[in-house]
């Protein structure tokens, strides 16, 4: 087991390096740089600015410098937000996204899984249909529409909650709900589907035949096994939600990390692009590793790292 984890961590380093390299190449391949503006600057001035930020170094040197600095934990200065470092930006904004993301994941899992189990038990009855209908809307109505509707209804029409800003628990309710919609629907549907799979299997029938109560069978035997696709889904979803959603953060004016994934690219803020990508990538790799480690707990038949032969 330990050997497997060490292997995975070494492996993660390689994946990160590939991500950094590809992102570095891509961001320098697209037109424009951090100081491309509508107004054309005199060439001497432009050269001077680029020299100041070491953007006139050959790309391989910039790449090597970046890696060296990164190894020292320094993700560099932002080009757009002058005087602020990428470390500062992540340090300031990630906790906000993380907090909001945790609320949403919590909501999505705690509603999604029971709803999915319930729907499976009531398969093709009206309760199942109602849940199916709601989850379909949850997926078909994207978060930006949901967010706009929430603001319109709960903030403007009913006056219950603030329309936007990150200011106390009241302001977290609408964005958390809007963010939770899609994953909640996804989890519900996946749970229902795999629950149905599992309920049809022999060992469940055996368990039932042994006289175990329906509830015990359901929660102890059927559910864990049926969570495999759900857990697979939750891994990267959680990485995505915890690092923030551009749409939700923009609509609700929340000072999170999510917005930087998009704005840094529009701004060609190279260091921020790399910084947030590395951060997200590390989280993705970590979550997916976690998912793989959780598999054997849910289904003891799964053996990690075993080769097919």
């Amino acid at each position: 087991m330990l050997e497997y984890i060490i292997k995975r961590i070494l492996n993660a380093g390689v994946v990160l390096l590939v991500v950094i390299t590809l992102t570095f190449c891509l961001m320098h391949a697209i037109p424009g740089g951090p100081f491309t503006t509508e107004k054309n600057l005199p060439p001497q001035v432009m050269a001077n600015i680029e020299a100041r930020y070491k953007l006139n170094d050959p790309l391989p040197k910039q790449y090597a410098d970046y890696l060296v600095n990164m190894a020292h934990g320094d993700l560099g200065p932002s080009f757009k937000y002058q005087g602020r470092s990428v470390n500062d930006i992540i340090k300031e904004s990630f906790p906000v996204s993380f907090h909001l993301g945790l609320d949403s994941i919590f909501l999505a899992i705690l509603i999604g899984i029971p709803a999915g189990v319930f729907a499976a038990l009531k398969r093709n009855k009206w309760q199942d249909r109602v849940i199916n209908f709601c989850t379909t809307l949850g997926v078909a109505v994207p978060s930006f529409v949901l967010a706009a509707l929430f603001i319109e209804v709960f903030a403007l029409k009913l006056g219950l909650l603030p329309a936007a800003m990150w200011n106390g628990w009241k302001s977290q309710i609408l964005p958390a709900l809007a963010l939770a919609g899609m994953p909640m629907a996804f989890i519900t549907r996946l749970t229902r589907s795999s629950m149905l799979d599992v309920l049809g299997q022999d060992y469940i029938k055996t368990a039932k035949a042994k006289g175990l109560s329906a509830m015990t069978v359901l929660w102890k035997h059927a559910l864990p096994n049926s969570l495999i696709p759900v857990v697979t889904y939750i891994g990267p979803m959680a990485a995505g939600i915890l690092t923030g959603s551009f749409v939700i953060e923009t609509i609700f004016a929340i000072p999170g990390l999510g917005r930087y994934f998009v704005t840094s690219i529009y701004n060609r803020d190279y260091t921020v692009i790399l910084g947030v990508t590395i951060f997200y990538s590390a989280l993705i790799i970590f979550m997916n590793m976690l998912v793989d480690l959780v598999y054997p707990l849910l289904d003891p038949r799964i053996k990690l790292g075993k080769k097919e032969n």
């Binding site: 209908f133 109505v141 022999d202 690219i265 598999y295 790292g305």
Partner: protein, 306 residues
């Protein structure tokens, strides 16, 4: 277990023709049987009917109308639904009903292509990774992690520079990053199933690895596959809207449902109907796909066939 039982009584050594005949027959039997039982599922048929109806409307609807999606009457901008304009008009006085009809063409084809990509690339990729296990699995999943991590916007902008705008670009962009979730889910399913008795049984009787994967493992994972497929469609539809907005997709004034909905959100306060109709179109389509997928799941899953 019905299937297993059948395999159990087959000779271990078979001629090539034998296998071919058996495969062909089995496939026919499987699908035919599925279709017969699908027809009995009223809700699924309602879903299928709706999808066919939408496809027909999308293909032939615009041909019947003399008005085009681009025809403007600026003086008649932002009008609510009426007899003349069933869905009202947009900010340039274009008929929203007609625009939703044309939008169906783009959004439905996006939905279908996304599903195909998911199915062809995602299921195969995830299946192979999960089934092979070990180093192959690790490398294949590393690639998935890399593709997950690279910002979509970066390669989208690059595509925009390299290619001319159009629907093909959207398909390419979807093709790069759209099957990852499916791949991971299928892999997880395969990992958990490949140690189960029916796989061991198939292996004992000498079934090839390809055959085990295609005939035994993937059909048993069909539940999660179908659900993921249907849930990814709206995501694809809105990704298209985002890509078109950035400049990668179809050029204005042509608009997909996703684009119409995004435009509708900006005027939500003043003219809510501009959001309502495209949103309804997407939701109805999604309901239809979900109804159908629930039915398909029931008839395609071997475990459900008893």
């Amino acid at each position: 277990m019905a299937e297993l039982a059948k395999i159990d009584f087959e000779p271990l050594v078979r001629s090539a023709e034998h296998i071919q005949a058996e495969n062909g027959e089995a496939a026919l039997g499987y699908w035919q049987d599925a279709w017969i039982r699908l027809k009995r599922d009223k809700v699924a048929m309602l879903g299928l009917g709706t999808i066919i109806f939408l496809l027909i409307v999308a293909i032939f609807g615009p041909m019947l109308s003399s008005v085009s999606y681009a025809d403007q009457t600026l003086a008649a901008a932002n009008q609510g639904p009426s007899a003349a304009h069933w869905f009202g008009t947009d900010n340039l006085g274009r008929d929203l009903f007609i625009r939703v009809l044309y939008g169906a063409r783009i959004s439905l084809s996006i939905g279908i292509v996304a599903s195909l990509l998911n199915f062809l690339i995602g299921v195969t990729y995830g299946g192979i990774a999960g089934f092979m296990g070990g180093r192959v699995d690790r490398i294949m999943m590393n690639i998935v992690d890399v593709l997950y991590s690279i910002p979509v916007l970066l390669y989208v902008i690059l595509l925009m520079v390299v290619l001319k705008p159009g629907l093909t670009n959207i398909f390419i962009a979807l093709g790069i990053g759209y099957w990852l979730q499916m791949a991971r889910i299928v892999r997880g399913q395969i990992l958990s199933m490949k140690e189960q008795e029916f796989v061991l049984a198939a292996r004992t009787i000498g079934a090839s690895r390809r055959r085990i994967l295609i005939k035994h493992l993937i059909p048993n994972a069909i539940g999660a596959i179908v659900v993921t497929l249907s849930l990814c469609i709206p995501d694809a539809i809105f990704t298209e809207a985002f890509l078109s907005f950035i400049g990668l997709g179809v050029s204005a004034p042509m608009a997909s449902w996703g684009v119409l909905a995004s435009e509708g959100v900006t005027s939500l306060k003043a003219y809510p109907f501009q959001l309502f109709f495209p949103a309804i179109a997407i939701s109805v389509t999604m309901l239809a796909f979900n109804f159908l997928s629930d039915g398909l799941r029931d008839v395609l899953d071997p475990k459900m066939r008893r």
